[in-house]
Amino acid sequence: MSAAVAQYAALSRRSLLTMVRQPRAIIPPILFPLMFMALSSAAFDRTTQLPGFPESESFLQFLICATIVQGALFASIAAASDVAHDIEDGFFDRLIASPVARTSILAGRVMGSLVFGFVQAWFYLVVGSAFGLTVEGGFIGMIGVTLVAAMFAAGVASLASAFAIRTGSSEAVLGAFPLLFSLMFISGNFFPRTLMDGWFKTAATINPLTHMVEGMRAQVIGGLDLGEWLSAFSIALGFFVVGLVLATAALRGRLAAN
């Protein structure tokens, strides 16, 4: 049991170090959402005066949770492409040949993304606070938001890892990026659904990410709301469970093929 825990910890640590030691790979996924947040907060601040816009102090307050989720999405896909790199450069085969627990190969990556997603969410909250962001839910609200972000990051990492293990190609993982990117943007994450119309509003309403971000946002603009938080966390957990099932199946398939 302790050997298994040590293996999980070692591979999680390796996953985190891989991300941190490749600044070229990890800085853009962190900076792009930050840049988008800075630009959109300044550009769309007046829109908070529109009738139907949720009562917010600023557009930054409305946007911060979407930025956090966007960052988690980008970083987790970068992490999953490392899984494919491991397959491409033969490290995956060496792991299989060693007496390491099979599930730790996957769990290491997912745990690494979970920890990174948590830290990254705090980073965005701290940067936002430096620019006047107020979180109505206070410190507990921030913890709630970062926990959802961490779970979502683990979910995306699992989903993308399933794809990475199945294809064994980092290019294919990055090629799947537009699909998740669309899920992120065709939603109510960047503007309130109340101010949308037509098919886009319908698509945004169906999109589970809309409801996840709205649940997180409730803690920021309205104050602590357990019901909304549970709704957000359940969706993140759903991503994680589906991702884990798919990734485990993909891992079994590759092991059987090997």
Partner: protein, 254 residues
Amino acid sequence: MSSAEVTWGIARRSIVLISRLPSAFFPSLMMPVFLTISFAGAFSGIVDLPGFPAEKAIDWFIPMTTIQGAAFAGITTGMGVARDFESGFYDRFLVSPASRASLLGGSLLAATLRGLAPLALLTVVALVAGANLHAGAMSIVVLGIACLGIGLCAGAWAVGLAVRFKSTQITPLMQSGMFLTVFLSTAQMPIELLTGWLHGVARLNPMTNVLQLARQGFLGDVTWDTTWPGLVALTGMIVFLVGFAYRGMQRVIP
């Protein structure tokens, strides 16, 4: 071979590469379509803001996303030059008797022409989505002028970086440079409705005038008053960025 033949040969090779390596060019076509859908859909409510100049969100956003597409398309030319440096192919051009100006001219001609691909695709998207073309065909003509100019600027920026760094690893800087230039302007909101630091930056950014040139036919009539500031801004950007690429090309050693 004359300089004109070299220039055309390089440009033709770059254009042919679109069909030979579609994965490198395809994102520059699809990204603006996706941006159009996202911006026009998500921000459809901003037209209700007092003072907002467009009837529909798509009228406001599609010229910006077309410009962004032309920029991405121009950048792919620089990415191609960087790839040729990595494979050693570009060194053969450099040691040939062809002048550096004709080599650069070929890449920049290709970048300019590549900017027409997103224009064609997004014109179709605009028509399908029911965008207002208040000035009829002139709406597309002025948008086309802006696209050709920005394609050339983006190509010059990307080639300038490619000849300095000789590596595709510089691609993120090529992309983020153009992305920021577009978004640090009136890309998302008119200047009157911008607040804080972005208002000040957008006023100074020449891209604001280029976007005014590109958008005018979607918001109203095409007039000289809303055209010339864009043409001046484009000329200034072209002179500066082509100068940047030319200096790099003159100094590059095989």
